[in-house]
């Protein structure tokens, strides 16, 4: 039923940027991997295998997927806040390593010392995984500063939420980014709620794409539930930044189906609101409907992909469940590097 609604909606939209069938399939795989991975993470949290905070990306998959597809994967740097599992999966980090970090095991990407909010990869140019709301915006500016300093032609993609958008350092960063024409794209993942506070209750102006106006930074509001729109806008923004014109703001209108973190009472929004998004706007169902409608894929071929992804997630979960905890001696390593 849900699929039907989405399909009919897609049909009525006109002038929508199109992806090739290969791109649609890539987007489908990436988003489905995030969805299944996060569902598993939620389940493992419920079983007590994952501790502390665990912020799931379910519902927002199209944002990081579309942006990453429009970027030079492995060259352009990406950085985000604490809702970071999806970013890492799309950037190609090992799902086993991500899941094992969630369970605090030695095979985790940070050796079990970082946790859900702190994972990094120099190789894939992913710089976290940052737990302090807004800090990643200044840090992302620095990644762009380094790109400009070296003249290496890369772009920094700094993701933050509607909540972080009210932090002071965001505007300090906007100012310097524009002043020095840093190659950075600021991606505001507006999922409507900063923890339990809606944008209407937290923000004097809720059109975040205009937050760069006083610094003359161009901004766009994008349907962050439609990976085609995300990809299209990201291409424009990244090209702008890469060409030396300076920063660009993309406000991605998105939605998280789950609570802010696992222990979220979710009393601040109605069930109907969540259901409406899931049934009518789901990013994965949208792509699936198009793939089927165009005849590029069949129910059977998508089932094969589904089971491949399920296998990846199951393996990740098994690894993360059975891997050993870090050696106690690891308590004392990686504090400083001995010169």
């Amino acid at each position: 039923m849900a699929r039907k609604a989405v399909a009919s909606k897609a049909k009525t939209q006109t002038n929508v940027p199109q992806l090739t069938p290969e791109q649609e399939l890539e987007a489908y795989r990436e988003m489905l991997l995030i969805r299944r991975f996060e569902e598993k993470a939620g389940q493992m949290y419920g079983m007590g295998l994952i501790g502390g905070f665990c912020h799931l990306y379910i519902g927002q998959e199209a944002v990081v997927t579309g942006v990453t597809m429009a970027s030079e994967k492995g060259k352009d740097a990406q950085i985000t806040g604490y809702r970071d599992h999806g970013h890492m999966l799309v950037m190609g980090l090992d799902p086993k390593g991500v899941m094992a970090e969630l369970t605090g095991r030695q095979g985790g990407l940070s050796g079990g010392k970082g946790g859900s909010m702190h994972m990094f990869s120099n190789e894939h140019r992913f710089y976290g995984g940052n737990g302090i709301v807004g800090a990643q915006v200044s840090l992302g500016n620095g990644l762009a500063f380094a790109a400009k300093y070296r003249g290496d032609g890369t772009v920094a993609l700094a993701y933050f939420g509607d909540g972080a958008a009210n932090q002071g350092q965001v505007y300090e960063s906007f100012n310097m980014a524009k002043l020095w024409k840093l190659p950075v794209v600021f991606i505001i993942e507006n999922n409507k709620y900063a923890m339990g506070t809606s944008t209407e209750r937290s923000s004097a102006t809720t059109d975040f794409s205009k937050r760069g106006a006083s610094f003359d930074i161009p901004g766009e509001q994008v349907d962050g539930m439609d990976v085609r729109m995300v990809y299209d806008a990201a291409q424009r923004a990244i090209e702008y930044a890469r060409s030396g014109k300076g920063p660009y703001i993309l406000e991605m209108l998105t939605y998280r189906y789950r609570g802010h973190s696992m222990s979220d009472p979710a009393k601040y929004r109605s069930k109907d609101e969540v259901t409406k998004y899931r049934q009518e706007r789901d990013p994965i169902e949208q792509v699936k409907a198009r793939l089927l409608e165009s005849g590029a894929e069949t129910e059977e071929s998508l089932k094969v992909i589904e089971s491949e992804i399920r296998a990846i997630v199951t393996q990740a979960a098994e690894f993360a469940t059975n891997d050993a905890e870090p050696d106690p001696a690891e308590l004392w390593t990686d504090i400083t590097i001995s010169a």
């Binding site: 710089y127 300093y149 979710a266």
Partner: protein
């Protein structure tokens, strides 16, 4: 995974209420479908299906309170699955390797249960390098020494750059960056807006990407705006990333009390930063140490807090004229050898301590004077060895007493050399007040040479 277990909403949850079933026996469910609602006193949560299947059994009635976490609550079978398949494994919570601590008969039993961590690795400082024979010693100010250190490292490594307020066109608020813009250009000597939080974070990000920023804070007082980036982003990065991402950088600028600038511009942050694992903290006194340690700091792969002092910028000292004069980070310097009492200080405190030492020596007290130079890692060995010899210690610093460097030193001495002490350790510190503006009050708030002498007299029982 046929059995659905009662989930935990938080790591501390032990049980909850199964408030509502949203499926019934015989329903077909897909991943993401909500099966049930769970409630605790803090939160509600939906239990979702992870796999497709058919609901075979609801094992707990809705409305049941006190359902323990991990209790099977439903049976959902996928295609071809049998009810007898193993339930999902619950976390093995037992720690992996905890050899039982050997407990002496007198030990309180509770102590034996504490998890045993390996001991912290011991930091061993390197000695200062021997200077080449006949090396020329040049008299220069601390300001010149710092300027030379940066210029030399900027020449040596293209990844090094300087960023801060008024560092370029203005030539430095305190002229530490004089002429650097002329030699290295605006790409490497970067004037920022007044935006400490933003540019400190930017510099940390640039360091993540492999550059080696030198961040100048006009004074350390303003770095309070940036302290989150210094501690949460720079200091913890290596650890949180399991050793993958580093922040090789220096944060530097004048620290401590200047003169008549009031409470917000007169504060010593030595103890603050020395508290933080992941940081290296250096606070030099002499011109030679300023040069050799700043060069070492810029080459360090770690984030370094380099605490200078405005009043010392103009003081002069002899600096060896060498192509590459580097000093080891983490090594205290014994400024004067002696046998009667150990005075330990650093940075501006060394001025009071040195002047007191001169007077005390003239009065027949054989003082051993130690300049810590580095506050983290702290050269405990040099201090402990000295106290074992003298049996007495006085610490001198401008900062506040509570949780100060002197407090830390006295704890370490008590732990490692208690039996050698012939008198309690005494601290000379700034007074426990915000810095007043009035000349007479400011003077009262600062430590004095006479305070140091009085403390030495007390611990040597001469007063």
């Amino acid at each position: 995974m046929p059995q659905i277990l009662m989930p935990a909403l938080s790591p501390t949850m032990e049980e909850g209420t199964l408030s509502k079933w949203l499926v019934k026996v015989g329903d077909t469910v897909s991943p993401g479908d909500v099966l049930a609602e769970i409630e605790t006193d803090k939160a509600t949560m939906e239990v979702e299906a992870v796999d497709s299947g058919v609901v075979k059994e609801l094992m707990i009635e809705e409305g049941t309170e006190g359902v323990k976490v991990n209790t099977p609550i439903a049976l959902v079978l996928g295609e071809g699955e049998q009810a007898g398949e193993a339930a999902p494994k619950v976390a093995e919570q037992a720690a992996t390797s905890e050899p039982a601590a050997e407990t002496a008969a007198a030990t309180v039993p509770a102590e034996a249960k504490a998890p045993q961590a390996a001991d912290a690795p011991k930091f061993v400082a390197q000695d200062d390098p021997d200077l080449p024979e006949g090396v020329e010693m040049v008299e220069m100010t601390v300001r010149q020494a710092l300027n030379e250190a940066m210029a030399e490292e900027l020449r040596r490594d293209k990844d090094v750059f300087v960023i801060g307020e008024e560092v370029a066109e203005y030539q430095g608020a305190y002229k530490i960056t004089q002429n650097l813009l002329q030699e290295f250009g605006p790409e490497r000597i970067v004037d920022t807006p007044i935006t400490e939080h933003g540019f400190a974070g930017l510099a940390v990000g640039a360091a993540f990407a492999g550059l080696k920023p030198i961040v100048e804070f006009m004074t350390w007082n303003f770095a309070m705006q940036a302290i989150d980036q210094i501690i949460n982003s720079a200091a913890k990065q290596l650890y949180m990333s399991g050793g993958q991402v580093t922040a090789p950088m220096v944060f530097r600028g004048p620290n401590g009390v200047a003169s008549r600038v009031g409470a917000q511009h007169s504060q010593d942050y030595s103890a603050w930063y020395s508290h933080v694992p992941g940081l290296t903290v250096i606070a030099p006194y002499s011109a030679a140490d300023a040069k050799g340690l700043l060069k070492a700091a810029i080459r360090s792969p770690n984030p370094v807090i380099f605490l200078e002092n405005e009043i010392l910028y103009g003081s002069t000292g002899l600096v060896p004229k060498m192509d590459d004069f580097l000093l080891p980070i983490g090594k205290a310097r014994i400024a004067r050898k002696g046998a009667d009492v150990t005075i330990v200080s650093f940075s501006m405190g060394m001025r009071y301590a040195s002047q007191a030492t001169e007077k005390l020596v003239a009065a027949g007290v054989d003082v051993e004077l130690i300049d810590l130079r580095t506050l983290r890692p702290l050269d405990s060995d040099t201090v402990i060895e000295s106290v074992k010899k003298t049996g007495r210690m006085v610490t001198v610093e401008e900062g506040w007493p509570q949780g100060g460097i002197g407090a830390e030193l006295s704890a370490r001495v008590m732990e490692a050399a208690f039996d050698y002490l012939d008198a309690p350790v005494m601290r000379v510190t700034g007074k426990d007040v915000p810095m007043p503006y009035a000349a007479n009050l400011e003077k009262l708030a600062l430590p004095h040479v006479d305070d140091v002498i009085a403390a030495v007299n007390a611990v040597t029982y001469r007063s």
